[in-house]
């Protein structure tokens, strides 16, 4: 559109120049061309009006749609339009007024009167001269007609000289010269038209002829008088005389040059003045029309150009506004093309620089935020997966942060505990009363709360023992008033330590006790063998009884030492593919027909695991032995064995309806030397647990609700099946 507007504006201006030229240059541009130019100008005016109307319509539509920059463009267009309209209109009005007045000033009644007077004066002068030559001609003609032909020449000369006539020629009726007299030295024989002869035959007449002096270039006016000359008297004397026919006297008299020049000038000026007079209205109309077209084209072209300029000016601002919106939305990639070195260019450049800086800063911030989030996420993952419970509390004992282990370890109430008081977050306040009291005391003591302290707590709940270590530390200055509680559940560690200690004890016992047992037994047997026959019956009886007791006790000690030895041995299991179902069936077979009923709940298919067959057999035998002991003196004694395969593991469940395990030892039942049996070493289940753990499995032992025990063994299968 801007090319169209520019083209139309340029063509319009070119037209105006041509139009202005056409008024002054007659040869260059004809009236038809002028008319065509006017028509073309009108066409362009209308074209511009249509174009501007379209532009205005579009602009208003843009304003209505609230397109960025449209209001500014409208404002600029109005400003430019007014800037042009006001001065151009003033110039136009002044010009039209001035022009009209100027044209009117050319015409003045006095000037016209003076010109008319001059012309009349010229006419009167010519009339006087015409009358003068007429009288002179008549006089000469009369004299000639009354003079004899032979005397006419001298008469003609005399009278011409007397009347100061330039040329006097007497023509015959056929146009031939009869007599001639001239004041000029060189005379070109004059000619007479037949029309003049005919006309003169009917009576005299005067002709006024205009000519240009070739030498001086001045206008010359000649008066020519044609007068018929009668030959009445001469005819009377000689009728045969040629000259007796009617002749024509032609007198030629120039009007004095000064008068002629003035008269011709006055006539010429008068004619030009009259032409101007008639052209007056036309001039006014044409000039007004031209000026109007100039005004319209100038204004319309300016308005049209103002659209282009306004758009050019407002475009960077609109782009800036648009880009600002984009930036507000968070798009820092918006780049405005730089143009020009003016303030707008500088603004655009600065904006682009600012945008790129913002982009860079945002990217950095995003990167930092991402790193922070990653770090936080990392920390969260660590905290979540940390076995150690971590709780951050403030001065008022409100939880600011805690991890999953904390919730699990201290048995938090369901829901988010953040913001709650620690004591309110814990379900069993009574159980953890000591812990809460310790924390309260720590926070209540300013000196104490500046340091890091730790304490161990032991809880028992639902047949389970829990040992924890609490470590309380104040946080750094930036988060002053906050404390971090790090709680470690050391129940298992304690148990393991206990196990290790027992292992060591067992190993030492086995080593220290086992060695002297065999010689003791052998010596006891030898004493019995050697001295029983030498002693009397009574003494022999005492000896036998004593040595038998020694041997028995030594055997018992051997059993105990073996068990200790077994418990303390270094793990040396030899895993191989084992059908656990088959093993279970074999062990169960050993105990069939005993004093209790065994219910075997196995699936048909074999289940294979990687395990040491002998060790697992020992585990099962230990458990079955314990069950057998527990079922003694029980009515309707029963055992139930189940084998179930789950994903990557097998679960063996052994239940009995025996006497169960006393509550006071159930938590430590897997510890060595913990037993409910009178003659038990307390190492059976400890060995069982050790073997199971060596197979990366777990064993859980629980008293059933009413009666009996349930032992669950879980062993990994490693996808063997």
């Amino acid at each position: 559109m801007k090319y169209v507007i520019t083209s139309v504006a340029i063509i319009g201006i070119a037209l105006l120049i041509l139009l202005a030229k056409s008024l002054s240059n007659t040869d260059l541009i004809s009236s038809d061309t002028f008319r065509f130019l006017v028509a073309l100008s009108v066409f362009f005016v209308f074209s511009l009006i249509i174009l501007i109307a379209i532009q205005v319509f579009r602009l208003l539509q843009s304003v209505k749609k609230e397109i960025i920059g449209s209001r500014l463009t409208l404002r600029l267009v109005l400003s430019f339009g007014l800037m042009v309209l006001i001065p151009v209109s003033i110039v136009y009005l002044v010009s039209v007024n001035f022009l009209t007045k100027s044209i009117e000033s050319w015409f003045d009644v006095r000037v016209e009167s003076a010109l008319e007077g001059g012309l009349t004066l010229g006419q009167k002068t010519v009339d006087i001269l015409v009358n003068d030559i007429e009288l002179k001609g008549k006089s000469i003609a009369y004299s000639l007609s009354n003079t004899l032909p032979e005397k006419r020449q001298s008469l003609l000369i005399d009278m011409r000289e007397k009347f100061a006539i330039q040329d006097a020629v007497l023509f015959n009726k056929n146009g031939s010269i009869n007599l001639i007299s001239s004041s000029r030295e060189v005379l070109i024989p004059p000619l007479i038209d037949n029309d003049d002869i005919k006309k003169a035959s009917n009576g005299y007449f005067i002709k006024i002829e205009f000519s240009d002096n070739i030498e001086t270039g001045d206008k010359e006016i000649f008066l020519k008088a044609f007068i018929p000359v009668d030959s009445n008297k001469s005819q009377q004397k000689n009728v045969l005389d040629v000259s007796s026919q009617q002749q024509i006297l032609m007198l030629t008299q120039p009007i004095p040059r000064s008068i002629a020049n003035i008269a011709v000038s006055v006539e010429s000026v008068y004619e030009e003045y009259q032409q101007l007079t008639y052209s007056r209205n036309s001039l006014k109309i044409i000039y007004t029309l031209t000026l109007t077209l100039v005004l319209l084209l100038a204004i319309l072209s300016s308005v049209a150009i103002s659209f282009i300029l306004s758009r050019k000016f407002s475009r960077p601002l609109a782009m800036l506004a648009d880009a600002t919106k984009e930036i507000a939305k968070g798009n820092y990639k918006k780049f405005i093309p730089e143009s020009g070195k003016d303030e707008l260019g500088v603004l655009v450049k600065s904006f682009n620089s600012m945008t790129s800086q913002l982009d860079f800063a945002t990217k950095n911030a995003k990167k930092n935020r991402k790193s922070l989030e990653e770090a936080r996420s990392f920390l969260e993952i660590i905290l979540t997966n940390l076995v150690t419970a971590v709780i951050v509390i403030d001065n008022s004992k409100k939880i600011r942060l805690y991890n999953k282990s904390a919730s699990k370890m201290l048995n938090f109430k369901s829901g988010n505990a953040e913001g709650k008081l620690l004591s309110n977050a814990i379900k069993n306040k009574k159980l953890y009363g000591g812990l809460l009291k310790f924390i309260e005391e720590y926070l209540g003591n300013p000196k104490k709360s500046m340091k890091q302290i730790s304490a161990e707590f032991k809880f028992e709940h639902n047949q389970k023992e829990q040992i924890i270590i609490l470590q309380v530390s104040p946080l750094a200055e930036k988060v002053a008033g906050s404390y971090v509680l790090v709680i470690d559940d050391i129940t298992m560690v304690t148990k393991a330590q206990r196990q290790i200690a027992w292992g060591e004890v067992a190993r030492r016992l086995a080593h220290e006790i086992k060695n002297p047992l065999t010689p003791i037994q052998l010596i006891a047997e030898r004493i019995q063998h050697k001295f029983s026959k030498k002693l009397n019956k009574e003494d022999s009886g005492i000896l036998d009884k004593s040595t038998t007791t020694i041997v028995k006790q030594v055997n018992a000690l051997k059993v105990m030492v073996n068990e200790f030895s077994e418990y303390s041995r270094t793990p040396k299991i030899q895993k191989k593919k084992l059908d656990i179902k088959q093993l279970l069936e074999e062990v169960v077979d050993l105990y069939t027909n005993k004093s209790f009923l065994i219910t075997l709940n196995l699936k048909k298919d074999s289940i294979f695991i990687e395990a040491d067959e002998n060790k697992l057999r020992q585990v099962l035998i230990n458990i079955f032995d314990n069950a057998k002991d527990a079922l003694r003196n029980i009515e309707n004694p029963q055992m139930m064995v189940e084998l179930e395969q789950k994903i990557n593991k097998v679960v063996i469940v052994i239940k009995d309806n025996g006497i169960g395990i006393p509550k006071n030892i159930i938590n430590r039942i897997f510890e060595p030397y913990v037993t409910s049996k009178d003659n038990g070493t307390g190492l059976g289940l400890a060995i069982v647990k050790k073997i199971i753990e060596e197979h990366n499995g777990t064993i859980i032992i629980k008293n059933l609700v009413k009666i009996g025990v349930k032992i669950t063994i879980i062993l990994p299968t490693k996808n063997l099946n």
Partner: protein, 195 residues
Amino acid sequence: MMAYFMHYLKSKIYIYAVLIIFLFSGNINGFEGEKSIEIKDFSFKKNENSYSIEFVQKIKLSKKIKSAINKGIPFNFKIVCKVFSKNNFWFDEKIQQVELFYRIKYKALKKVYEVHGVYDKKKEFNALEEAIKSLNIVKDWNLNLKNKSNVYKYYIVLQVKLDKKKLPKPLQVNFFDKSWSIESRKYEYLLERLT
């Protein structure tokens, strides 16, 4: 059929031409002058080596024009004679165009009306009516027509008009003032094959 179509097309072209002219010149052409010159008694003669035409033109001048003549403004007239050969299947071909100029001017000093042009030499008249009357009959206007063997119908378009190019410039370009547009309508005279 073709002739009818061409006739239709020509008539349409005329309409289009008028429309285009109107579009480009607005209503400027609406200011054409009234037809103040009438042509009649047209005759076409074949001379020995040429063709000549003869007609009578009746010029009626308004008071304004007469007054302008009396004020010394020269009036130049132009007689335009165009000869066309008729073509039923295409646009008519202009064979020839001849123009004849004459001029009436009042000489204030001499108090006579000079008539130039139509006649061999200048003629002077004491009264304007006489001068105009002297222009009425145009005769023996020779046209050097070229014959065309394949053309059978000719027509002459004759128009007399004031030669506005000779008027003072402001009067030439003032198309709003129709009083300065003196012209006859275009007279068409159909001729048979030129022999």
